[in-house]
């Protein structure tokens, strides 16, 4: 685990070491050590208010920790200036819980937003990249979808447009913030499939923040549990089930998603 800090590591794309963050007197992260594997689906589970979102915001440099380090491809992103952070942010795409599409822009403008803000590309190239994504995410079979505004889209479509926007700048890492919250079981399954397929088709490293146990064990290559500001369990789903932490059990069991056979 200690190999490769400070240099690009072939297996681990993101390495978090001793991350601490407080807001006022409230300690949210109390020394998080966690690695995310390149090209895999990494899931962080935990109850509400355990610091999952705060951890995610640190990954994109939206929050600065009180102490600790975050290495992305071996580069420590803590304490970088605005310009350097913006460069690191280009490696990331973020898929928000409720898509967070811009109400005032149509589908094409929403998806093209990162390209327009970051580069000076010819209009035709932007449009080409947007249309390519619409095709690959099965959004092009809806008539007139390009000109539609977010309010005219269904929840599932909004999610896919949000994914397209996150993918348009060809990120290496995709962050999903509770992607299945508030969805019915069928929609949840579709989103799970979407995450898996995206990981395979686009070859990205996925980091998913979730409290949906069924999804987690269905799509996760690696699962970590954040509890009270620290990581209490980390490994493949099989490893986690083989030696369950009582706190993990307490969290996972009520959902009925997985069974701990070894336990009475």
């Amino acid at each position: 685990m200690t190999n490769g800090i400070g240099t690009r590591d072939e297996r681990w794309q993101i390495q978090i070491r001793g991350l601490r963050k407080s807001f006022g007197s409230q300690q949210v992260l109390r020394g998080v050590d966690l690695d995310f594997e390149r090209g895999k689906t990494n899931i962080v589970i935990g109850g509400s208010g355990q610091g999952k979102s705060v951890l995610m915001k640190h990954l994109m440099g939206l929050l600065q920790p009180d102490s600790g380090h975050i290495y992305v491809d071996g580069e420590d992103i803590v304490g970088l200036d605005e310009v350097a952070i913006a460069k690191v942010q280009r490696k990331f795409g973020m898929v928000f819980q409720y898509a967070a599409l811009f109400d005032s822009l149509n589908v094409v403008e929403n998806i093209a937003f990162p390209l327009i803000e970051r580069y000076r590309l010819p209009r035709s190239e932007i449009l080409e990249r947007v249309r390519d994504l619409l095709r690959r995410l099965d959004l092009d079979n809806v008539p007139g979808v390009e000109e539609k505004f977010p309010a005219e889209l269904s929840g599932g479509m909004r999610k896919r447009v949000g994914l397209a926007r996150a993918l348009v700048d060809r990120p290496q890492i995709l962050l999903y913030d509770e992607p299945t919250t508030g969805l019915d079981p069928i929609a949840t399954k579709n989103v799970d499939e979407m995450i898996r397929r995206t990981a395979d088709d686009f070859g990205v490293t996925s980091v998913v923040i979730s409290h949906d146990m069924a999804s987690t064990f269905r799509i996760g290559d690696r699962v970590a549990m954040l509890y009270d500001g620290t990581i209490i369990a980390c490994g493949t789903p099989a490893e986690l089930l083989a030696a369950p932490d009582p706190r993990l059990r307490e969290f996972v069991e009520p959902s009925g998603a997985v069974k701990f056979e070894a336990l009475s």
Binding site: M60, L62, I85, A86, Q89, F92, M94, F96, Q97, Y98, A100, L101, F102, D103, F113, P114, E117, R118
Partner: protein
């Protein structure tokens, strides 16, 4: 209520320790300090909005969109209110002036009240109601649906993208709308005094031309600029700082309209005082 201090067993005696004084001061000045802090946060937002104005990229489209919304969008209501304000002022003016048989002064009365007071203040209040409330709602819902967070993930500063265009558009469009209000107000005054009350147009025009000064309009336009800043800041500040859900967006909208309207009226008073110093002959 919470005065049960456990460190003071002898509760009978009336003592004034520094702690008492501190608590009393806190109770007296607490709300005042809160108000000062909020004022400071508004000013900070204003400074940030202006700093970003000079940084790339310049998104012309956003500025034009806001100018269209604040200006063109408010045109019908401003014209309507302007016309009737002028008409009402003329009507009241004629009633008062008739006591001295001096109705020909109505042109001056309407012109100067519009230029200095009615046009800038009513324009600011109408645009607050129409555009200020919409700004607070829009930014508030963008906040709760994480659109503002999404901006930052694309390395776009939300103040640069959202607040600066709104503040600048308000500063530019409020004076324009104030002049529209003035023009329609004069038309309203004309309809009442010349067409309805048949006052001699030559005399009215002559007195208007002679006594209404360009400085009156300059004063009105300076007010309009400052009201524009106050309106946009109140709306953006409230919208930007929404936390929670849809209910909070509604609360923020109400707060934006109330604080903008109140600050327009309070600022109006202080601006008159300041302008009376700058243009003493123009005071009273």
């Amino acid at each position: 209520m919470s005065d049960t201090a456990p460190t003071q067993p002898s509760s009978g005696a009336q003592e004034f320790s520094p702690a008492h004084v501190g608590r009393l001061a806190g109770r007296l000045f607490g709300p005042l300090l809160g108000a000062v802090a909020i004022f400071g946060q508004h000013m900070l937002l204003l400074v940030r909005a202006f700093t970003w104005l000079f940084r790339r990229p310049f998104r012309m489209r956003l500025f034009l969109e806001q100018m269209e919304f604040i200006g063109v969008g408010s045109l019908p209501i401003i014209m309507l209110v302007g016309f009737f304000s002028g008409a009402v002022t003329a009507l009241q003016g004629i009633t008062a002036l008739a006591m001295f048989d001096q109705q020909r002064w109505v042109g001056y009365a309407v012109g100067v009240s519009l230029a200095r007071e009615l046009a800038p203040v009513f324009t600011a209040l109408m645009i607050t109601a129409r555009a200020g409330s919409a700004m607070a709602t829009e930014l508030g819902s963008m906040r709760i649906t994480e659109q503002i967070d999404a901006l930052t993930t694309f390395a776009v500063n939300p103040v640069h993208y959202l607040v600066t265009p709104r503040v600048v558009a308000s500063i530019l469009m409020l004076p324009v709308m104030t002049m529209v209000f003035n023009a329609l107000g004069l038309l309203g005054g004309y309809v009442i005094s010349i067409l309805v009350y048949q006052i001699d147009l030559g005399q009215v025009l002559e007195l208007f031309r002679h006594w209404v000064d360009p400085v009156d309009y300059v004063q009105g336009l300076i007010k309009a600029v400052i009201f524009g800043i106050a309106m946009a800041l109140a709306a953006c500040y409230q919208g930007f700082n929404v936390r929670g859900g849809a209910k909070e967006v509604g609360r923020a909208t109400t707060a934006a309209v109330v604080s903008s309207s109140v600050s327009v009226l309070i600022l109006d008073y202080f601006l008159i005082e300041i302008m009376n110093v700058i243009w003493p002959s123009h005071g009273m």
